[in-house]
């Protein structure tokens, strides 16, 4: 069930210079949220900044007996909203509502034998739970009778510079193949994450699915990569939102349809944030 709640901050630790991990106590949402879904967060009881900020579920915290009790979000401080979140400490309260949006494909609905997770910037955040879920290392959502599929997962993460690789260790300890790329060459491949991905795909074995999250220009390149390598590709968009649940019509993106124009705006918070890359009319998206 989707719900709004005023919840207590359990911790809010700095993972890197401008990157934080906030843990919020909210068992009802923690029990239901799926990999790729998000919640809206804002400090409780203020009107400046006013709007909630969409953050992807990073992981679910559990009690000693394994019951979901809290949700972790990892966020990059960019502007007023995330700066306000960064100023919170244990015991402070946030308003949050969720779980919102759709999830990445899960077993057994798609061919998920070899999944390539492709993250840019702060776009790694949905992928820790995606990987754990695919590998059967953790269960998310209502008790699932899902057979843990036979999946191998690899993870490629591109950032501007090394200090933004906060939490890389969380992925490395899953026992999956991890690669990094930096624009400045301070770690891993020197260059674009999509170029590194192309090299790895060409070396083989080919992934059967690509899941990607990152800034729009990167997702455009990922969509092209998926098409050229003929790998089904899903992208999670980081669109600006006001409400997160479909009433404001601000987070729209152009999605192909059968209308005369060939596309119409869809609400990313409701129809997404995850789309098949081929469903989006990329030519209509203007980069700012």
């Amino acid at each position: 069930m989707v719900l709004q709640s005023t919840a207590t901050v359990l911790s809010n630790e700095m993972l890197g210079e401008t990157i934080f991990k906030i843990r919020v106590e909210q068992p009802a949402i923690a029990r239901e949220i799926l990999p790729g879904q998000f919640a809206m967060l804002r400090p409780h009881g203020r009107t400046d900044p006013l709007l909630g900020r969409p953050l992807a579920m990073y992981d679910v915290g559990r009690s000693d007996s394994g019951e979901p009790t809290s949700i972790d979000f990892v966020y990059l401080v960019q502007g007023n909203g995330t700066r306000a979140l960064a100023s919170l400490g244990p015991g402070d309260r946030v308003d949050l509502w969720g779980p919102l949006g759709n999830s990445f494909p899960r077993h057994p609905s798609n061919d998920l034998k070899r999944v390539l997770l492709l993250a840019g910037g702060i776009g790694q955040t949905p992928f820790l739970s995606v990987a754990k879920d695919l590998l059967g290392q953790q269960t998310y959502g209502a008790p699932a009778n899902r057979q843990a599929g036979e999946t191998s997962v690899s993870f490629i993460w591109g950032v501007r510079t090394k200090s933004l690789l906060a939490g890389l260790n969380d992925f490395q300890t899953l026992g999956i193949e991890c690669h990094v790329a930096t624009d400045d060459g301070s770690a891993g491949h020197h260059g674009r994450v999509t170029d590194l991905a192309r090299q790895l795909i060409e070396r083989g074995p080919r992934p059967t699915a690509i899941f990607s999250c990152g800034p729009e220009p990167m997702l455009v390149a990922v969509a092209r990569l998926g098409q050229e390598c003929q790998v089904p590709t899903w992208v999670s968009l980081e669109t600006r939102m006001a409400c997160g649940y479909g009433v404001c019509f601000s987070c729209v993106c152009p999605v192909k349809d059968s209308s005369p124009a060939g596309w119409d705006y869809s609400r990313v918070c409701l129809e997404g944030p995850i789309f098949r890359s081929t469903a989006i009319e990329w030519n209509e998206i203007v980069h700012q």
Binding site: T47, P49, G246, F249
Partner: protein, 303 residues
Amino acid sequence: MDLSVALGRLSLANPILVASGTFGYAKEAAPFVDLGRLGGIVPKTVTSLPRAGNRPPRIVETASGMLNSIGLDNDGIDHFIEHHVPYLSRQGTRLIANVAGKTEDEFPSLVAKLDLVAGVDAIELNLSCPNVSGGIDFATKPEVTERVIRRCYESTGKPILAKLTPNVTDILSIADAARQGGADAVTLINTLVGTAIDWRKRRPILSNVVGGLSGPAIKPIALRMVMMVARKVAIPIVGVGGISTLDDVMEFLIAGASAVQLGTVNFFDPSSSMRMLDDLPTAVASLGASSVQEVIGTLEWPR
């Protein structure tokens, strides 16, 4: 406690409504709101033909507020009647459809269409949407306001609410024109036109350059307009603009609003309407009143 109020011919179970464009088509809000408890629902503005709306970015946050330029993104009146009215009209609350015309003729034709639709309890006219470039504003000249409203009034037996823009020099003359045109009530206020600039890029942030300011930042302006119209024009008022707590609701009622609409608060506090309804009876009782109607417009003017 009697919470009921009346807007001319339209009676409401309570004075707390949700504002057009801030509540989608209500279904989206159902996880957070027991729709049947609301005094009424005003869904997003519909137009004669489908409109894609403006390109993103469509919003930008401002100090205790936000600017929007959605641009009337909607699938048109026929789709609205077919796909949204059936759901909206079975929620056990008043459905007030909101329409905007591009021309003076379009308003009465939209109204005439809705006149035939069972389940639509009333019609709100969005006379001035700031986000449609080239759009004509029908609520900045009293003669035009009166004429458009009269033609709508003559096209339907349903109650009519005229939603007015604050972007005028004399709101009193416009509100009086709405009264003369036959409106059952005026809805005050729509958003205030503003802009936001990214100075580093030397560019406006909104694709539409300008947008409508809403949220707590505009509450004092809305409250003043409600107060002024309540003192000078004999027409029921629906107060809207920055309301985010029950205290705000009470201020508008005292200033002279017979009902209120919640707008931007739905974005940042999705279930706020339910908490306001929980607390409304106690607040009214604290004034020694046993009905909402008793407190409306009871502002004591300083001598």
